[in-house]
Symmetry: C2
Subunit: 266 residues, 2 copies
DNA sequence: CAGTGGTCTAGACCACGCT
DNA sequence: GCGTGGTCTAGACCACTGT
């Protein structure tokens, strides 16, 4: 070959793109780059560090994957606002019992209790459909495969920001034709348990199976997390007198701002 | 400049690197590329798709972020094996009560119950030390900052494979000088709760705070997971008559093979 | 229209693992 | 010694955003 290409600089401890990412991360952590601030553009970083654009983009990619920044085409990179950690306690399922002489409480659901938000800040997307039970749902709900179910897919938002995705299944034989099956009635004060109570179904036990995994690209987008932030998933089963009456498969929670809190009495 | 560079191909629906990732993901999901199988090398993918190496690497990067594959320097990329899921139920804390005439049960702890393994397959590393309570421990244990604690760091192994890391703190004023503070007595049949029972401390409530995060490099190595697999962490507090008597900070579980199972009675 | 991040090319050198 | 993924360079064209 002709002349050798300019050799890479002396082998640094860390790759250049990690050094760049570390420096930017330090500025974000220290508050030098506060939430919402613009990062230097890719061209600026190239000049400041004397590296090629690909190297800069690798550094930026790390921070985006960590969920520290957002990158938007044509608009630049910005520091992502951080959310406080939400504690999801078991008491979110407790039914409200009002004391005599108390003011009627503001409407609430397990979601508004988790978030510590008022009814007004609570919005949701909802998609209802009817589906037959597959193997997994049949086992969770203890019905035959093929049993008709009401599927309700929700995206819950707090102040407009998506905080939770869930897909819930109810027995169509139980809720079909009732107000519960009408999307217009959602959100429903008191949530699932209150809904079922109106049908004479008294939920007395909730089972939660908790796992973690990386988000799908779609989930990461919806929840506004980086694709290197894991999610918590819950499979929730509600039981009335030992009989499963509702199954929520893959309740998806952003792992960087949720803590699940369980108390076990022995 | 001289002639223009060869233009990019007609604007595809999806970027090329996503198409490549999608195709590989499809092969993994369908089993065409089973667990442990080698992916095509980067050079092979360049030839098969007629793209530059940077494009191939972007595709590979997506799959690695999703936890579907591992990439190892000098050894190639491989489909990550999927582990069977272990269910950690609340009953792992239940104290054994033997019926009359029953055979004495094999020794057990919450860990052996989780794993469904016998006593013989159970091994552990243990490191004991005495430390003063920091802010967090002081709050968890409801003692003054600086209170002396017994710190016990464990790595639990099933058939020699590390499956759980935990760091547990006990009040030195409660366990100092007792058999509980002697590393030689670990593993202790019946585990923590049985240990405390010998001191007249009856644990009647366990609180678990569950979070998820990416593992530290050290944790990833110890648990034998890649650094793209999230971990579940549990902060566990054991209480006797409402008083905290043990705190386990950062029980670390490999997220690709653990499910936590909680039942809530309303 | 200038500036931005998204996508892509066509090369290069490196250190390590395997055979 | 050859092949591998990890790192890096120096360009290019694109579509959209903001002024």
């Amino acid at each position: 070959m002709g002349g050798t290409v300019i050799a890479m600089p002396p082998p640094a401890e860390q790759p250049r793109y990690r050094q760049i990412a570390d420096e930017l991360r330090r500025r974000i952590d220290s508050g030098t780059l506060p939430a919402g601030a613009s990062l230097p553009t890719e061209v600026e970083l190239m000049e400041q560090w004397g590296v090629a654009r690909g190297t800069v983009r690798e550094a930026i990619g790390l921070l985006r994957a960590e969920g520290l920044i957002t990158t938007a085409r044509h608009r630049g990179s910005h520091v992502r606002p951080r959310w406080p950690v939400r504690r999801l306690g078991m008491d979110r399922y407790r039914v409200e019992t009002h004391q005599r002489d108390e003011q009627p409480a503001e409407p609430a659901t397990s979601f508004t209790k988790d978030q510590g938000i008022g009814w007004a800040a609570y919005t949701m997307d909802k998609t209802y459909s009817e589906v037959p039970a597959d193997d997994r749902l049949a086992e969770l709900l203890q019905v035959p495969v093929g049993e008709q179910l009401l599927r309700r897919h929700f995206v819950f938002r707090s102040h407009g920001v998506p905080q939770q995705i869930s897909t819930s299944y109810l027995l169509l034989s139980m809720v079909g034709g009732t107000p519960v099956a009408d999307p217009a009635n959602e959100p429903w004060p008191g949530g699932n348990i209150a809904q079922l109570a109106t049908l004479g179904v008294a939920v007395d036990q909730v089972r939660e199976q908790v796992r973690t995994r990386m988000p799908t690209p779609d989930e990461a987008r919806t929840l506004g997390i980086g694709d290197a932030i894991p999610v918590l998933t819950i499979t929730r089963t509600m039981l009335a007198a030992g009989r499963p009456v509702e199954a929520a498969v893959d309740i998806v929670l952003p792992g960087d701002r949720v803590e699940l809190d369980y108390t076990i009495d022995l």
